[in-house]
Symmetry: C2
Subunit: 463 residues, 2 copies
């Protein structure tokens, strides 16, 4: 009954919004699309219906009411970066199933497993170290995910038997949050970083691999120190101290014996995928095709069987909700909704000091990410506008550009759909969509403060 | 080892084809794409690797070798009619889970359940009767599938415990084959029938709902009489006579009691979907959005839970292999491969009698379906060419047009990817891809003979 009540409230909210006259000279059909999108987010945020149900209802309403053409609504399903999530998720199942994930995670526990907090730090540290070679944070999440899944299992934390909060939820959330800063540390750690640098270049602002790293290093290291610890406080694992874990891991590793045939094959495929993904920054290699190729080899060699597919409905669910929300958000952007808001907002900025303009621009840029699905869409739609508004208001160009680029990365955990990386962690079942809104939101607030309060003076000092 | 040997043979076949000089002035990249496509089909046909593995390897090779652009290779994933399969498959799970599928199938058994053959006939008869109101055979397969799934279960035939051949395999194959003739009986029973009629109209050939039915009725009824019986002989169910089944079904129905809440909701959703699908011939209603909307309601009301998604990996597998093969075949057609073959073939026709030309054209039109994924793609690519070649050679226009349209329908079971309908039956696990090549192929041969030998004189007599 409680649930029915909440569904009724949501329906009233959606209907009211639908029928009020659109502000800011937004056309009615765009306003209706916004109503559908924001109602979907509210439904997910307040746990009214699952994200997949919310997404498919939003899709059906948008198409059947004639607001979006079917082809545009479905466009997300054939996006390479979304299919990459699916393929990487399936490969991660093979990494787990072959025992390779367990072996890697046992090695991590042997070295850092005295406490769950220690594991949290080691996960983010691994991410930060491998990041410069990975031009896609989605691909990187595909690498980290099976290892973290193994870590959770080895800590006796599983989905379905009410032990997910023992360690798994914390580790998944920490790794997801860690990706936002590993991606911001290196120019080459995220697909849209170089695109943003390219846009800035056209406006006469030069950022190199080295200057990017210099600007990023101080705020990133502080965020690295604080994120695993903060999540440990506000989203605590039930399992805290594990003094015997390293010894147990050593025993378990001995017990696992030599690397099996399936582990060798999986390791070979995994390393080949990593190599090709790393090379995809230099050569035009489609990352999803690499993952599909890896999966194909794992299937042809029997490591990933046809029966393994049966239990992969979660990957389907992820594909569906992510592709739908991406399609809706893209339409919202294409119909100029985000631009209208951004332009309207910049009217209020005239006459303000550059510092105020700078802070407001970054804050709005982060908050507006609630409306975007994936980081690339956000950067492509708004980075250029925000940068030029800031520069016109007197903000130093390099500062404005690099901080917007950092924000493109650190705003990623503000919603479940904020980054394609989040999807793979959410699909694990260890964390809920609502958890991401709450604790991912808290992480975003923390990184926002760190980058603005410490990053800004640091950048001004060293530039 | 046997399997390794077959994989090696396949690799030799593929490599040889790849490196021989392309015939008929086909450009090398198109020839390589053809090599990939035909090797995939051979791999599936000879059971070398599963269809999903074959498809993803084909995808990876096509993209990573630079033969197809990623966006084109992935285009199938956002095709509305392919997403319709996925959504219909998920809804059918709810129909089964709610008990509604069981109830409907028990009613059928109560009336026609004295033998498995009787059930086969009743399934195809139901299909034929509801077909004129369904402008999409894919949607119709989504309606029939959960009922047949229920029938199989009620006959004690399940996937996974080695009882699938008791009754389920036969019923699935029969229904799949039945769809090819129900779609050909009515102008409005299949999405591309009216498109073909429109193309013919532009060439001065007039076909109406009535004349279509008149031409189709005799060969279709003969095919209806023979298909369930032939499959009963060559693809026999282990369970044959079931004299007590109707009584048992009555008892089971009584035992089921009154219709439950979930059944009512599912029935409401199901009937609404049927209504909207039926109306989609008149109004521009996207059929996949209808199915997604139905699924959304089933999820919001808890009939289809979030946990139900976990076990729907088969739907993901179907989406992936179908979308990939569709993308590859579309590229093959766009690069002119099928046209080149068709044009080359028509060179040989000059000087032959119109009867010979007619038979050859129909035979080639059917056989070339091995290269096509989905019936729509085939019709759009080749119907116009074949029709004009036939008419120029003196074949009566109406005969040529209607027989090509019949062939577009009855060639559908020649391969697993020949129609989107097949995908849902294949995903059940009751039949294998190889079964479709063999027994679906046999059905195609049978209907080819019926339509050519009996249909032709009948059409000439009544036109």
């Amino acid at each position: 009954m409680r649930m029915t009540f909440r569904i009724v409230l949501l329906a009233i909210f959606a209907f009211t919004l639908w029928f009020i006259p659109p502000p800011l000279s937004i056309v009615p059909s765009t306003w209706h699309l916004f109503t559908i999108f924001i109602s979907t987010i509210v439904a997910i945020l307040f746990n009214i219906i699952p994200i997949i149900a919310a997404a498919i209802i939003a899709l059906a309403v948008s198409i059947l009411s004639g607001i979006i053409e079917p082809a545009k609504a479905y466009a997300g399903f054939s996006e390479s970066f979304i299919l990459l999530i699916v393929a990487a998720f399936l490969v991660s199942h093979a990494v787990h199933k072959s025992g390779l994930g367990k072996r890697l995670s046992l090695h991590i526990i042997r070295h850092f497993g005295h406490s769950t907090l220690g594991l949290g730090y080691s996960v983010v540290a691994t991410d930060i170290l491998i990041a410069p070679a990975f031009p896609s944070n989605t691909a990187r999440s595909g690498v980290l995910y099976p290892i973290i899944y193994g870590l959770a299992h080895d800590c006796g934390s599983k989905v379905g038997d009410n032990t997910q909060h023992r360690a798994g939820s914390y580790l998944m959330m920490t790794s997801m949050a860690g990706l936002t800063i590993s991606s911001g540390l290196w120019l080459t750690a995220m697909a849209v970083n170089p695109i943003g640098v390219g846009i800035a270049e056209k406006m006469g602002i030069h950022i190199t691999f080295g200057s990017w790293l210099l600007y990023a290093i101080v705020p990133t290291l502080i965020a690295f120190a604080l994120i695993p610890w903060m999540l440990y406080r506000i989203y605590p694992p039930e399992l805290k101290k594990t003094p015997d874990a390293p010894l147990k891991a050593s025993v378990a590793l001995e017990h696992m014996g030599r690397i099996s045939r399936n582990e060798w094959i999986t390791a070979g495929v995994f390393v080949s995928m990593l190599t090709l993904w790393a090379l995809s920054g230099v050569f035009p290699i489609d990352k999803a095709a690499v993952a599909f190729g890896g999966l194909g080899i794992l299937m042809a060699t029997g490591v990933f069987g046809i029966d393994d597919f049966r239990s992969q409905g979660e990957a389907l669910s992820t594909l569906i909700w992510f592709a739908i929300l991406f399609g809706l958000s893209t339409q919202l952007a294409e119909q100029g909704f985000m631009n209208t808001i951004a332009e309207h907002f910049t009217h209020y900025l005239s006459g303000l000091s550059w510092v105020t303009v700078y802070v407001l621009l970054i804050a709005v840029y982060v908050l507006i990410h609630y409306l975007f699905v994936s980081q690339s869409a956000h950067l492509l739609a708004l980075f250029g506008i925000f940068l030029s508004v800031g520069v016109q208001a007197g903000v130093p160009g390099e500062l404005m550009a690099i901080m917007l680029l950092f924000a493109t990365n650190f705003n990623a955990t503000i919603t479940p759909q904020g980054s394609s990386c989040n999807a793979i962690y959410l699909s694990s079942g260890y964390i809920s969509a609502r958890d991401i809104y709450l604790y991912g939101g808290a992480v975003t607030l923390l990184t926002f403060c760190i980058f603005l309060l410490i990053g800004t003076p640091w950048i001004l000092a060293v530039r």
